[in-house]
Amino acid sequence: MLEQIVQIVSNERSTDSYYRLVVRAPQIAPRIQPGQFAHVRILPMKDALLRRPFSIFQVEGDTFSILYKTVGKGTVALARMQSGEELSVIAPLGHGFTVPQPGAETPLLVAGGYGMAAMYLLARRSPQKGIVFVGGRRRVDILCEREFQDLGWEVRVTTEDGSHGEKGLVTQPLLAELKSAQRGRKLFACGPTPMLQAVGKIAGEHDVPAELSMDEHMCCGVGVCLTCVIRVRSGDTWEYRRTCTEGPVFDARDVVWEEAR
């Protein structure tokens, strides 16, 4: 974990309200593991003070990139920033995905919307190629399909409105795949909480291991404030664990799902 002022190399809109930000961070980039995140202070924000956490998408040489969607004050301010401007970054943070070992289970990646951003580095560093299941509301919510195909991975797309790929939820083709063969598979998922809960349930029913990257509100990002806690199994009971430090990636069997609020 390092705190550094980094320079923006590029910050471009890819589709719709999705952007790709590349920063030069020579000391941080080589340390990044798949599933880790960067905690970014967007200096032009005046009255919104907290850092914003972003999954790290790609690492190239001394740069890393993030994919983000403009959803609030922070991301809107970030989208206005230009190459040459500076950001304060604390990274790499968190406990990421377990990179598959040679000969291990075939990885099945499950991503919802910009959850896709957390999965690319895992696919790239995995010695086994697998299948990426990616879902979104509309065609524009399907990110980096091409990048995964270029790595030699099969990509199965679902959209809720049927504008691209199969119509429906990302869990449909996943279930179909697990029906055909469930042995020797491992799931890795990142996306909205209901999707993660569904993937965790499917993993349990099919007795397939699964790692879930949890998406929780964060504040400090380094384990101090106890904002981002989730319930994690501990013996016969549960305890709160921090998504920023013990996570964001958890074994699906350990996650205790809270009642929908």
């Binding site: 101090v224 404030c225 904002t227």
Partner: protein, 322 residues
């Protein structure tokens, strides 16, 4: 004679004097007046990779009671304009868990470690104090009588002068360690509470805790916190905290540790002028972990620029006449 005709600034420069930033809290001496607010700095170890803790005035850890505390359901925090709300619910490992898990690291620090403690009864406060007194090596104990986010304990003690006096007195009997009472801001007039803590044997006051507050998500019509209400902190509370420090400082002789929205040295100096002898950086740690070190450097710079040799020349120096 020549020296007297020179401005203090030029004299300090000429003599190459470094200002003295040290400050005393009871029998405890801090190398500089900048500490951190309990609950914003974990148990120190979390930030050790990002800054040199030994440069701080003191490390103040998150509140500990006798037994482990699970904390509140989520969401526990919400960002608001120039600040944030929290209702963590004092999640913590309890005295034994703290000593086992965090004390081995904390006890290696060269700067004092101040342990924030709380309980649900006067007796529990005193028991926790006894446990830390027996531990050895603790710099001071901060009595949290002002957490707004738990049903029992905390704020009920801080908003009742009689109870406050009882808690502080019971803790005083249990230890010779310096005691800092962390005051509730949720009172009409802080002076009698400050006096009650002083009279009961507190060595210093921490002014102040977070302000009870609430925010609503207008899309869902739900409160932004699972706890419904929480404590407001950050730069938005600074002017309110300055006033409370000023009022408390006029009521007591013991030193005050001022806190509330400090982001830079200018903020800290404002607290000194209002009457604080030391300060704590809180919410700013969450977004800029270097803040305490930047504040220390900025105070030193200010003192050099003004030709000030020690902090007592600033403390309480607000000029009320125009």
């Amino acid at each position: 004679m020549r020296a007297e005709t020179q401005s203090p600034e030029s004299r300090a420069v000429e003599e190459g004097l470094e200002p003295d930033l040290s400050v005393s809290i009871g029998k405890l001496t801090l190398q500089n007046p900048v500490t951190v607010a309990s609950g914003t700095f974990g148990y120190g170890v979390e930030y050790a990779q990002l800054l040199d803790l030994n440069q701080l005035g003191a490390v103040v850890v998150k509140g500990i009671r006798l037994n482990p505390v699970p904390g509140n359901p989520t969401p526990r925090t919400a960002e608001v304009t120039s600040g944030m709300l929290n209702a963590i619910g004092l999640q913590g490992p309890g005295v034994d868990g703290f000593i086992q898990k965090y004390w081995p690291f904390l006890s290696t620090l060269k700067v004092p470690v101040i342990i924030n403690i709380w309980g649900t009864t006067v007796e529990e406060y005193a028991e926790v104090v006894r446990r830390f007194d027996a531990l050895g090596g603790v710099g001071a104990l901060e009595l949290n009588v002002s957490c707004p986010n738990i049903k029992e304990g905390g704020a009920q003690f801080g908003t009742d002068c009689n109870l406050l006096g009882q808690v502080v007195a019971a803790c005083r009997r249990a230890t010779t360690l310096p005691l800092i009472t962390k005051m509730s801001p949720n009172v009409v007039n802080i002076a009698p509470y400050a006096k009650a803590a002083e009279d009961a044997g507190s060595d210093a006051l921490a002014v102040t805790n977070s302000y009870p507050a609430m925010a609503i998500d207008i899309e869902t019509r739900r409160p932004k916190l699972a706890n419904i209400t929480g404590g407001l902190t950050g730069p938005c509370i600074k002017p309110i905290a300055i006033k409370l420090v000023w009022e408390a400082a006029r009521a007591v002789k013991i030193p005050i540790i001022g806190m509330g929205g400090i982001q830079n040295a200018e903020d800290a100096i404002e607290f000194f002028m209002a009457g604080a002898s030391a300060v704590a950086v809180g919410t700013a740690n969450f977004y800029e972990p270097q803040t305490p070190l930047q504040v220390i450097a900025g105070i030193r710079e200010f003192m050099k620029r003004k030709g000030l040799r020690n902090l007592s020349q600033i403390v309480g120096s607000v000029q009320l006449t125009r």
